[in-house]
């Protein structure tokens, strides 16, 4: 898959239309994980619109998003940045292939910084 294909896939998965964004930055203004993230909610929207998804997929920002949906809630244009973050996360997980999280490995991953809720969500989603 080309980078463009990944972008299309992310948009399909999330149902996000980045062209609706009017670049107000309210998502990032409201984001509680802003400082932990290399790329911020508005950048997810902007970069995917521009076809630059690789950097996002490689970024640890994916796992610092709390999925709190405040950006979705606050967005005046219904753009839903968190859904996009979630889609990129899914694409990344998929690209890892069958090498998915096993129940036994979860305990080892728990640390102070990673929210437990995120781990559980990822576990449910990627462990079939």
């Amino acid at each position: 898959m080309t980078e463009r294909d990944y972008c299309e896939e992310a948009l399909l998965l999330s149902g996000v239309h980045p062209e609706k964004c009017m670049k107000c930055g309210k998502c990032s203004g409201a984001c509680p994980s802003y400082d932990e993230m290399e790329y911020h909610p508005h950048q997810f929207v902007d970069m995917i619109a521009k076809g630059q998804i690789k950097k996002l997929m490689e970024s640890e920002s994916l796992y610092h998003c709390l999925s709190c949906f405040v950006c979705v809630e606050r967005c005046p244009r219904n753009v839903m940045p968190a859904n996009l973050v979630e889609a990129v996360r899914t694409l990344r997980e998929r690209s890892i292939g069958n090498d998915r999280l096993k129940p036994d490995d979860v305990a080892a991953l728990l640390d102070e910084e990673t929210p437990g809720q995120l781990l559980m969500a990822a576990f449910r989603k990627y462990s079939k």
């Binding site: 670049k23 107000c24 930055g25 990032s28 203004g29 911020h40 950048q43 244009r77």
Partner: protein, 662 residues
């Protein structure tokens, strides 16, 4: 036998690009009754119209079909063209092959085929058209302006100056509207009161203007030139004619708990009050919700102290009935409620205020006498954060999807005024875009940035919260720096989106004027008839038609006035001849049509009828053509089909259906 001419317009390439206009003309030429068909690049141009005029004369046409743009665009044009060649203007039908064909269908064959069908339907209809003659009705030479803000005042003054009597109905106790609440005006920074109050006084004193303040529209009947309006004058409990405006009553009133509406409840007023010092009329009004006399039956201090004996607790609402030739809606706007925007803390923190509240805080006649003090503790704020687009351009359902237009400029104004008077403050403005298309507007905004050092930050505030130590924390993004900021602010000022006044919707229903989904009045044409409602005789002034600043409002107010003057200068109006008619031979006199007529245009009479079976006195329906608007509700209520609509007769519609389904 009709002799029909078909004229197919290319509309440059607007139609011709998608529709094979030559083929449409050629095909339609073979339709029965069609004796002439032609195509032309611009049928609405003088040359195109000349083509039609010549064809009518040379071919003795009795009917004309123009295949062109929407009839809403040029039906009137082509009717006039036909009339100039001696053909009855109502023998013209339009087939809409632009908006409803060439613009939406890409496939040339499909579009051409559809254009032919639409043309056939129009031919089928015109075959059954009959010449119609417009009736005439007199014009009442008096205008009504609903709303006493700057829009209403300016419209009324302009009409009055032209010599026509005009009434202003304002629901608040004083005229002046929103502009009266403003401190300074952009981009000149002159004092709002200084330029508005003279106009208010002029309106009050003008011999042609009658003010109905604290009044509402109760009922509107009639039609262009002949509206009959009921105005409810709400009881003030103070006789306007007796009151001297001394204000003693307002000082004696022991109840001080009411929020002062004029200052947006930033301070209190008595139960009997004059909204503000320059109010017109300068007559108090009693707030019965708050007045002790009304609540407990005891008190009456104001009455005892009124030397003019103007106070009357038994006063009742009064209904005034008046006839008008034209009505102007100038109902204005309000900031939206911020209930749905909890993230800004407006409901929680007293130091988060709206821009209109801030306007009052800055005003010398406001709650702080013009001193910049924050509401919570009266201390002068050192850091101010302005947030733009609060609810504007919002499609999430919480706000309004349109741009409120005035916020960029008034925010720049506020920022500048603060920095000028209090140079030791820090002022931040969070913006999405700064929109300054207007004379001297961008210069004004740049002055705020360059001269006054206002910090403009591209980004939006995500949250306003309390840091636990009594400081307001503003968390926002700085998109250009790709940073998230947290600013400790003393005050936050929200540029709340604007919306049309709530009363506009019910008024529009009474006026039968249409509105858009945002409750702005719809104009008859967005470009060419911006101050007229599609409802004849109803005109639009100011914000009620769409967001506007003061200069725009004033110029539109003048334009609306000119339209009203133009209407009132006529002695007679031609009425729409496409009205209902009752066939006396078929009418059974059952009254069903009368019951559904929205205009009371149908009456009954006993008349002698001879339907071929002998003379008989029957009860039959009679349509008052001047009152009928031609909606056609009666035609369906009539089971016998006695009631029909001229210009849209049942047989014409059947013919259209048949032609389309052929």
């Amino acid at each position: 036998m009709q002799r029909i001419g078909v004229f197919v317009c290319h509309c440059g390439s607007n139609i011709a690009a998608a529709v094979d206009v030559k083929q449409v003309a050629e095909t339609l030429k073979n339709e029965p009754n069609v004796v002439f068909a032609a195509d032309y690049p611009y049928m609405c141009s003088e040359n195109g119209q000349q083509l039609i005029r010549n064809a009518i004369k040379e071919n003795q046409l009795t009917g004309v079909v123009v295949c062109s743009c929407s009839p809403r665009m040029h039906e009137a044009t082509f009717r006039k063209t036909a009339e100039e060649s001696g053909l009855n203007p109502y023998m013209v039908e339009i087939a809409n092959i632009r908006e409803q064909c060439s613009w939406i269908h890409k496939d040339r064959m499909t579009a051409t085929a559809k254009a032919v069908v639409l043309g056939r339907a129009a031919i089928a209809k015109v075959r059954l058209n009959a010449p119609l003659t417009a009736g005439e009705s007199p014009v009442v030479k008096r205008a009504l302006v609903i709303g006493g803000g700057i829009a209403g005042i300016q419209t009324a003054l302009d009409i009055a100056e032209a010599g026509y009597p005009v009434d202003i109905v304002e629901k608040k106790p004083t005229i002046g509207g929103k502009m009266a609440q403003l401190d300074k005006t952009f981009p000149t920074l002159d004092c709002a009161a200084c330029i508005l109050t003279p106009k208010m006084v002029e309106a009050a004193q003008h011999e042609n203007i009658t003010l109905y303040t604290y009044s509402e529209i109760e009922e509107v009947k009639g039609y262009v030139g002949n509206f009959r309006v009921k105005i409810r004058k709400k009881a003030r409990y103070v006789h306007e004619d007796l009151c001297s405006g001394c204000g003693v009553c307002t000082q004696k009133c022991p109840s001080r708990k009411g929020g002062n509406e004029f200052n947006l409840s930033l301070d209190k007023r008595g139960a009997i009050y004059i909204p503000f010092a320059q109010a017109i009329p300068n007559v108090p009004v009693i707030d019965t919700e708050q007045c002790l006399k009304f609540k407990t039956g005891k008190c009456g201090l104001c009455q005892m102290n009124c030397a003019a004996k103007a106070i009357d607790f038994s006063q009742q609402d009064e209904i005034v009935e008046q006839e008008y030739g034209a009505i102007v809606a100038a109902t204005g706007f309000n900031p939206i409620s911020l209930d749905k925007f909890g993230e800004f803390g407006y409901q929680t923190y007293p130091d988060v205020v709206t821009s209109l509240e801030f306007e009052r805080i800055l005003n010398a006649a406001g709650p702080t006498k013009g001193h910049l003090e924050r509401p919570s503790d009266g201390k002068p704020p050192k850091t101010l954060v302005f947030v733009q687009c609060v609810g504007s351009r919002d499609t999430s359902g919480r706000g309004k999807e349109y741009c409120s237009k005035i916020c960029c400029m008034y925010t720049a104004k506020h920022a500048m005024l603060v920095r000028e008077k209090y140079p030791d403050t820090e002022v931040y403005v969070f913006y999405i875009d700064v929109r300054t298309p207007g004379k001297n507007f961008d210069e004004f905004y740049r002055r705020a940035v360059e001269q006054y050092g206002v910090h403009y930050i591209k980004g939006m505030v995500g949250k306003v919260y309390d840091d636990g130590a009594g400081h307001l924390m503003v968390r926002a993004s700085d998109l250009l720096a790709n940073e998230q900021l947290t600013i400790s602010a003393d005050m936050v000022i929200l540029a709340a989106a604007t919306e049309p006044d709530k009363t506009a919707r019910s008024l529009a229903t009474m006026l039968t004027a249409s509105m858009d989904t945002n409750d702005f009045f719809t104009e008859a044409h967005p470009k060419l008839r911006p101050v007229e409602s599609p409802t004849a005789g109803v005109f639009l002034s100011g914000f009620c038609q769409g967001p506007k600043d003061i200069p725009e409002t004033v110029s539109q107010a003048g334009a609306a006035a000119v339209k009203v003057i133009g209407l009132l200068s006529k002695n007679k109006l031609k009425s729409n001849p496409c009205v209902a008619r009752s066939d006396s031979l078929v009418c059974s006199g059952c009254s069903n049509c009368e019951k559904v007529c929205p205009f009371g245009a149908i009456t009954y009479t006993e008349a002698e009828v001879n339907d071929g079976t002998g003379k008989e006195i029957r009860r039959i329906a009679v349509v008052n053509e001047a009152v009928c608007h031609g909606c056609g509700a009666c035609t369906v209520a009539c089971p016998s089909g006695a009631m029909d609509l001229k210009g849209f007769s049942s047989n014409q519609i059947f013919a259209e259906v048949d032609a389309i389904c052929r």
